[in-house]
């Protein structure tokens, strides 16, 4: 198709602090796994866990 745009899917990871509930969206990196515990939350002393991993379509 001449006029169709190429769609790129980018994987994102959503981190959620188990204490304050703050959400952080970042690009997926190898090794990310759902529900796995990550580093300390930026705004409190709680631990962030990976809440969601999903893909979003970008048109280029």
């Amino acid at each position: 198709m001449i006029f169709s745009k190429k769609k790129i899917i980018i994987a994102y990871t959503i981190e959620k602090c188990s204490k304050c509930g703050m959400l952080k969206k970042r690009e997926f990196i190898d090794g990310d796994c759902l529900f796995s515990e990550l580093s300390k939350c930026n705004s409190c002393d709680g631990t962030s866990i990976i809440e969601k991993i999903f893909g979003e379509e970008l048109e280029s």
């Binding site: 899917i9 994987a11 994102y12 959503i14 997926f28 190898d30 796994c33 759902l34 529900f35 796995s36 969601k52 991993i53 999903f54 893909g55 979003e56």
Partner: protein
């Protein structure tokens, strides 16, 4: 009726400005299409199918090379796996005879499991130190490459047969089915990166919801690649089942259910799965219903229905609608965002359909790639 005095000028509406050349221009294409119409259609359709075949060939070659690259990069192999992989890709499965359908489900299950066990053992032979997570990934990638090879072979066979026989009607079923075949093949081809990197796929919404509920519970292996966790909710006992993540597997939920039912009295079964949406339906919409929501070749569904019927247990289902492509590629944002909604629907369903003191089995059905518990 008088046939000798027909006025052709009037008949063809050419009156005074008509000439024999104009007549030929009208009549020649009609003759051409009457005698050669099918052949012309065959050439036109052949062009479309050739383009599709080229795409299918691309999918087939890409999935094979991605598998080989993955093996070389992630497993410590002593030899080049290319020859062995090519041999694997040629393996076929002969389904049992269905002339006498009595007992065919057991035979189908046996044949499919035999193939799965064989593949698993031979991947282990390729790399004896392979862990279970990598093993399930390689097994899935192998299945994808093998399915794409089979699709290419079948489409190519149907196309070449029709061309060889110069038979247009023979190519019609292929032309009609091709868009659906291409949709499936494209989805399979695009699912490879998600399985390689261990990302959750759309079909994993069931295991994702149940896996989240069982996060803080004690877990045990109840069947091959299947996990059970027990918890309480509003005075009810919940038995949570899902495939063992984060490997790429669907587990054996029917076997798990059989074990639970043989040890405890179960009052309801709730199944959470991804379901194919109909055209026009919104993607990631959630629907509730009755009956066993589980795909695959049908052996698991048969066994679950059999247990439920024997013990008179009602089966409720919650499905998240999605397309073929969404089901086997990286989970979309819309589907991922429905997980909390599905969880609250499970609790609502429990309250509406069961009483305090009763026991409920909740099964998260689907491929648990990238979804631990």
């Amino acid at each position: 009726m008088e046939l000798t005095n027909i006025d052709f000028d009037q008949l063809f509406g050419m009156s005074d400005d008509s000439n024999p050349l104009m007549m030929l221009i009208w009549i020649l294409p009609i003759i051409l299409f009457v005698f050669y119409g099918q052949r012309i259609q065959l050439y036109v359709t052949s062009g479309e199918i050739k383009k599709a075949l080229k795409k299918l060939d691309g999918y087939k070659v890409d999935s094979r090379s991605e598998l080989i690259i993955y093996l070389k990069k992630n497993l410590k192999l002593d030899d080049d796996p290319t020859e062995k992989i090519d041999k694997f890709l040629e393996y076929f499965t002969i389904m049992p005879v269905d002339m006498d359908p009595n007992g065919i489900v057991d035979k189908v299950r046996h044949t499919v499991r035999m193939r799965e066990d064989y593949t698993r053992e031979h991947i282990k032979l390729l790399s004896p130190q392979i862990n279970d997570l990598e093993l399930t990934k390689v097994q899935t990638l192998l299945e994808i490459a093998s399915s794409l090879q089979m699709i290419y072979k079948i489409v190519n066979h149907m196309f070449l047969t029709a061309k060889k026989q110069n038979n247009y009607p023979l190519i019609l079923p292929l032309q009609m089915l091709l868009p659906f075949i291409m949709e499936q093949a494209e989805a399979m081809s695009k699912s490879v990166p998600a399985f390689k990197t261990g990302q959750p796929i759309g079909d994993g919404i069931g295991p994702m919801v149940v896996g989240k509920i069982m996060l803080d519970c004690e877990k045990e292996t109840i069947a091959f690649q299947t996990i059970l966790a027990k918890t309480d909710f509003d005075g009810r006992k919940l038995f949570l089942i899902k495939a063992e993540g984060p490997g790429s597997t669907v587990g054996r939920p029917a076997e798990a259910l059989e074990t639970i039912v043989s040890n405890s009295k179960i009052d309801a079964i709730i199944m959470v799965d991804a379901a194919l949406k109909m055209e026009g339906e919104e993607s990631a919409s959630v629907a509730c219903g009755f009956g066993a929501a589980i795909g695959g070749i049908g052996t698991e569904r048969f066994q679950i229905e059999e247990i439920a019927t024997q013990k008179n247990i009602p089966i409720f289902s919650i499905v998240v609608k999605q397309s073929v492509k969404e089901a086997i590629t990286l989970m979309t944002k819309q589907i991922a965002e429905k997980s909390n909604d599905v969880t609250s629907q499970i609790y609502e369903m429990i309250k509406e359909n069961t009483k305090q003191g009763q026991s409920i089995v909740i099964i998260g059905v689907g491929n648990t790639s990238g979804v631990p518990q």
